[in-house]
Amino acid sequence: MSESKITKSHTSLENKSALFAILTTVALLVGGLVEVLPPFLMSSDLFVKPIASVKPYSGLELAGRDLYIKEGCLNCHTQMIRPFKWETDRFDPTRAYGDAPYSKGGEYVYDRPFLWGSKRTGPDLWHESQIQPSAAWHKTHLINPREVSENSVMPGYPWLFENKVDADTVIGKMETLKNVFDVPYSDEDFAKAKEELADATEGDAMIAYLLKLGRDTANIEGQ
């Protein structure tokens, strides 16, 4: 190939490693900043519209959420319902979420980290409180999924009902969330958490969490 002007001037750039590194950094940062910064600069209403009824996780629910992370449930379950009729029909069978029954940003403001998932080997769980409200069913299912759900490929989690939750750890986490991220936990919330967590198993926490999913936004007047 003939040597073009571009190739020639680039060859001189290839001799200057520092300049090359700086230009590479600049090329990376343009798109990098455009993708990552605007959400934080935009008024929060534009990126995530708040929903008044959404409440923080209680102590027991928070413990359950951490277990959901620990056991890697998000590797197979999503928590994000897309705006397709066939998807909202499946994940809002009781029509509890009005005429826009898909996921909205405001529903996730207390989710650190987010748990939308990327793979739906099992069903979506974002509206689980409305789809399977029975705690007893969840207990049986978590211990041995195939007992209530024939041919399920989900692992069993029998140990969740043998291990106790450590209340102090959970309370400490609630304090961090309150102090660092301004999560509006009241003194009552802490008192309730102590009570709930006193003799709870990990399984109790997991079920409390599953039954929190979709509860705050279900069956709201005017939806």
């Binding site: 590194a21 590479t24 990376l28 343009v30 993708e35 990552v36 959400p39 940003g105 989690y157």
Partner: protein
Amino acid sequence: MEHNKGNYSNGVVKGFLISAVVWGVVGMLVGLIIAFQLVFPSLNLDLPWTSFGRLRPLHTNAIIFGFALSIVFAGVYHSMQRVLRTRLFSDTLAKIHLILYNTIIVLAAVTLLLGYSQAKEYAELEWPIDILVAVMWVIFTINFFGTLAIRKEKQMFVAIWFFMATVIAVPILYIVNNLAIPTGLFSSYSIFSGSFDANVQWWYGHNAVAFVLTTPFLGIMYYYFPKHIKLPLYSHRLSIVHFWSLVFIYIWAGPHHLLWSPVPDWAQSLGTAFSIMLILPSWGGMLNGFLTLTQAKEKVQTDATLKFFLVAITFYGMSTFEGPMMSLKSVNGLSHFTDWTIGHVHAGALGWVGFMSIAMLYYLVPRVWHTKLYSEKFANWHFWLGTLGILLYVVSMWVSGITEGLLWRAVDSSTGELLYKSWNYITDQLWAMRLVRALGGTLYLTGMILMGYNLYKTVQLSPSRTKQA
């Protein structure tokens, strides 16, 4: 060391080559176990540390950070000394890098099995390990730029550009996405919440693919492929154009992982648009590889290493076309959350990253140990086992994913009711395809083990070894 007679440090290269084979086999074995768990759930054994949810992050981390990164470090340390005509800036730093790196991977494996996780994909490792990773990367960066500073060849060969992009981009992505407030020694909460967190995570996740699994492997292709066929790179100009466009465009495409989500439409559209644009720089690299190969067509029939290079480049081209197609909102509506995504990832991981790594291993192990490959026949066997494995894997996941996506959305045309309300019914339909996938994985892993044996015997043929014995 005696066998290090040249002016280049080879010890650290050997260390990373061994790490690559070990973590590669371990990571793929875990992958195979979880593939079978999806077909036979009793294999989860009802135990915490053998259940799918804990093993899957171990699989992805072992492959991306154990296997692929070992290959990258070996390739960078080996090739940069040669194209820059200088010894590494610091052998000591390189040695610390190797030890710290393997310590991190062991810590990662242990903590993931114990369930310590930040829950963000490919960023599961908790904050103390994240800090170790950052320290390791600083050491690598010092050695990389230090070596550039003392180079005797002024002109940086194209492979160096791609390595440099990785050295610079990875810490930016890794640090921002892992920002978290610790709540214990191995627990933390992300400083970002909900949609913000999703946006940052997939900006990171997508660019982990870009700067861990793409740019350094293009660097490896640019150095080892022409070296292997002993012919020059086809086009310098094409390298220039596709390097800068790739580095500029890739980083925009993250939100294509969040189509139809609560993340605002402008971000989603930006992700889609840049994903489509990404076809051009990606195919620029593929074409430069293919056109380089056209100079040595006749060798393809006999040379196993060359076959691996060729198929790796083919899968690079295929995956970088499939990816942008899956970034179109209409296609994504069908493919997202299904096995199709898993198939897409593995076309890239097994085909492009895996085969490029394997080609480099077959090229490099005999050279750094100053000997010949023990068995070309085994390498050929490995090629066919691997290729057949990938095909079974990818095709079964296409069928499974599209089946799944179609069954989710199937409605009765007169009533509009969902036709397949039972989730387990849908899962049942995918069973056979998921079994085929696990068999494909079995073939691929068998090839890897055969390679491990072949390379082990190769190292035993090393003259320094026989002298010692």
